[in-house]
């Protein structure tokens, strides 16, 4: 009842699920059906043979909505664990992007120079283009992309955020 007045915050949530058909659809359907935001979502099997996938979701909402999102995720049968990394202490967050820049002459040199500052690697090169690989927080990638725009940016592919808690805590447990 206070949800109207509460401020909306961004949360990074890690979800451990059975790697089975339809599990991603369940998670996405939950978000769309109940009107929650998905700002980023990544999913992949974590270790072969254990049939577990880890989903990292970046979402936003008031504290009451975030509580609901976690409770609703927990209700899904194939969900093993739900962890709100934003609330549960320090964590590391990374995203990878492949950024294609087209240009010649001074602009081309400038893009390479900026890539160097951002520790982005050129993973493909033609006479008039580069594909840079950059890893970092989403805001770092945003900044890189902004700088590349005037230098001939034509294509971006981003993975979305993956995240993990610092220290010895584990979502998955030992083998």
């Amino acid at each position: 009842m206070t949800s109207v007045t509460q401020p909306s915050n961004q949360h990074t949530i890690a979800v451990l699920v059975d790697n089975e058909p339809g599990v991603l659809a369940r998670v996405i359907g939950l978000f769309s059906g109940r009107g929650y935001n998905i700002e980023s979502l990544t999913v992949a099997e974590t270790r072969r043979g254990r049939h577990l996938s880890r989903i990292t979701i970046v979402t936003s909402g008031t504290p009451m909505v975030i509580e609901q999102i976690k409770a609703q995720l927990g209700r899904l049968i194939p969900v093993h664990q739900v962890s709100d990394l934003t609330l549960e202490g320090a964590y590391v967050e990374r995203e990878l992007a492949l950024v294609k820049v087209k240009g010649t002459g001074e602009k081309r040199v400038e893009s390479l120079r900026i890539a160097d500052i951002f520790r982005a690697r050129a993973v493909d090169s033609t006479n008039e283009s580069f594909v840079f690989e950059i890893v970092g927080t989403s805001s770092k990638i945003d900044a890189f992309v902004d700088l590349m725009k005037p230098l001939g940016l034509i294509d971006i592919s981003r993975t979305g955020v993956v995240a993990i808690s610092r220290g010895t805590d584990s979502l998955e447990g030992d083998d």
Partner: protein, 588 residues
């Protein structure tokens, strides 16, 4: 030693039998023919042939709600499955345990737009607690056992198992049910001891407590209802129930203050608004209960007991969350309560009851039966008086609309599992097939489906099922020749513009009954009513009773949408609240 091989259909039936299933509600079709063939060859499972798949799910809901067991449905692929969707959604909203077996085209045809193919697991994902597509016969027994575990434990709900035809025909091994466990699914039954202690401390400190209980108490089993009664007695607090909770606490008890919510009693809603401690037990703060959220019980502390963590703090922020099964939590709570002197102080409680009784004295359910035009409220009251005298179990099902509210307001229940209604989804057409399911489960009981003429017509094909199995279901139609609740809202909120809410071209319900070999009765005025009701109750077979009631009668009291608990309309002459606010109009 090689294990016994059987085909997929036999595995399905063996699993059903192993889980204690004795009745299945279904309708055959191409994709499930192998199961129907297996049913033909055995005699442990009884198949009830419905007339439309939607009827099968509602019948299974009635069966489940009145027995506490899982209701089982068997339908074919494509349209069979899509017809089941409304019932599945209904069962999800009201937390009814259902297993719905759907046929599917053979695995090699899935995705090819084959005849009678539908993406059943895709369609039913948001309207089931869980669903499965079984791609190999090797998974079949495990999935069957898991499905029962999911459907009946925790907060119960519907589970769909989609069965491709080739899987049903393939040979495989049966896995015993005790070999199955779900690692990722462990509903919390017992609450931490600290929660219980804190709750008891809050009860002790309360001056104006109220207990607000819902369908979760009924889902938790008959023991939960007994424990709820003990809690109400131990605290001395007034008790109100939701629509789904009726029967969880005896209606004749002095501490019962009636149903809460949009058409609840004045005293229940006022007490909810003014209390200083609300103990919510297996209820979910639905919008029909709370009215305007920012004015909902503004000064109370709230304890919420629910097995589903997502029900807690969803609509209303509470002070103490207790996640657990109602029976387990109340049992622990009673233990702590018994060892400590816990009644809220007697003086405060006495003052609170004086206030509650003052609200009660408004007699918000009062109606006037004058002349020969039958008031629907009076019909329900007479029905109760007549059935109270019987030594039979009486079950009441309803459709959705005005008649449903009148039945809820005027028919009192002493025991759980005897009241069956579509609460969350509000599905017109629920009551007739649900009554059928109840009668299948309780052949000797008196099962009365209170209906409106509009709702009744939504699933009246099931009359044929009732005739086939000679189910002595009594359908009491409170016929007002309108979609009454639609008409009521149009009158109150849309300037009496009765757009499309008048029921024209109604059948002659007496002749309709007779065409199915049933008894048809009609009463059009008060002097005929009692005799008709008595004949309906006494008749040893199915009856359709067409009771023509006052077409202009509305359901009161009422919290208009967008209004708060303390802004109730008590009757047509009550102009104390101007509820026509634009804000309220947009709400449902």
């Amino acid at each position: 030693m090689a294990k016994e091989q059987m085909n997929g259909s036999e595995i399905v039936l063996k699993a059903l039998v192993d889980h204690g299933v004795t009745e299945v509600f279904g309708y055959p079709g191409g994709a499930v023919l192998p199961i129907y063939d297996a049913i033909f060859k055995q005699n442990r499972l009884r198949h009830i042939l419905v007339r439309q798949e939607g009827g099968a799910v509602h019948a299974a809901e009635g069966y489940a709600r009145s027995t506490g067991k899982v209701g089982v449905v068997l339908v074919t692929s494509g349209p069979g499955a899509t017809n089941a969707v409304t019932g599945l959604t209904d069962a999800l909203m009201d937390s009814i345990p259902i297993i719905c077996l759907t046929g599917q085209v053979p695995t090699h045809l899935i995705g090819n737009d084959a005849f009678q193919e539908a993406d059943t697991t895709g369609i039913t994902r948001p309207c089931t607690k869980h669903n499965y597509l079984v791609r190999s016969v090797d998974d079949l027994a495990r999935v069957m056992h898991e499905a029962f575990l999911v459907a009946e434990s925790g907060r119960p709900g519907p589970v769909v198992i989609d069965l491709p035809k080739d899987v049903l025909m393939a040979m495989g091994e049966y896995l015993p049910k005790n070999k199955v466990a779900l690692k990722s699914y462990k509903p919390q039954l017992k609450a931490p001891a600290k929660n219980i202690k804190d709750a008891v401390a809050m009860i002790k400190a309360a001056k104006k407590p109220i207990i607000y209980a819902g369908g979760g108490v009924i889902n938790s089993g008959p023991k939960a209802s007994q424990l709820l009664t003990q809690l109400v007695k131990a605290t001395g607090a007034p008790c109100t129930l939701t629509l789904m909770g009726l029967g969880a606490f005896p209606a004749t008890d002095k501490q019962y203050i009636g149903m809460v919510g949009m058409h609840g009693t004045y005293e229940a809603n006022m007490a909810m608004h003014d209390c200083d401690l609300m103990i919510a037990v297996g209820a979910r703060f639905d919008d029909r209960i709370t009215g305007r959220l920012d004015a909902f019980s503004p000064t109370s502390k709230k304890i919420h007991i629910d097995i589903d963590p997502s029900s807690i703090n969803k609509n209303v922020a509470v002070d103490l969350c207790i996640v657990g099964d109602v029976a387990h939590v109340l049992e622990d709570m009673m233990k702590v309560l018994k060892t400590s002197q816990t009644k809220p102080e007697a003086k405060a409680l006495k003052a609170w009851w004086a206030q509650v009784n003052e609200w009660r004295s408004k007699e918000s359910l009062k109606y006037t039966q004058k002349g020969q035009v039958i008031k629907p409220q009076h019909a329900i009251c007479r029905l109760q008086e007549m059935t109270d005298k019987l030594k039979r179990e009486v079950y009441i099902t309803t459709e959705v609309g005005q008649h449903q509210m009148w039945a809820a307001q005027y028919f009192g229940f002493e025991k759980p599992n005897h009241w069956l209604t579509s609460g969350g989804l509000g599905t017109m057409g629920y009551g007739l097939p649900a009554a059928m399911g109840v009668q299948i489960a309780h052949p000797k009981a008196l099962v009365i489906g209170v209906a409106g003429e509009a709702s009744f017509m939504m699933n009246m094909q099931e009359l044929s099922t009732i005739a086939q199995y000679r189910l002595p279901v009594k359908v009491l139609i409170l016929n007002n020749f309108y979609m009454g609740m639609v008409r009521q809202w149009q009158e109150l909120m849309h300037g009496s513009r009765y757009s499309e809410s008048y029921m024209e071209s109604l059948p002659d319900f007496v002749k309709l009954a007779e065409s199915f070999g049933m008894k048809g009765l009609r009463a059009t005025k008060l002097s005929e009513m009692d005799a008709m009701l008595e004949e309906m109750i006494a008749h040893d077979g199915p009856v359709i009773a067409d009771l023509n009631v006052d077409p202009k009668e509305n359901v009161y009291p009422m919290i208009p949408s967008g209004a708060a608990h303390n802004e109730m309309l008590l009757g047509p002459d009550d102009n104390t609240v101007n509820s026509g606010a634009e804000e309220g109009l947009a709400l449902v």
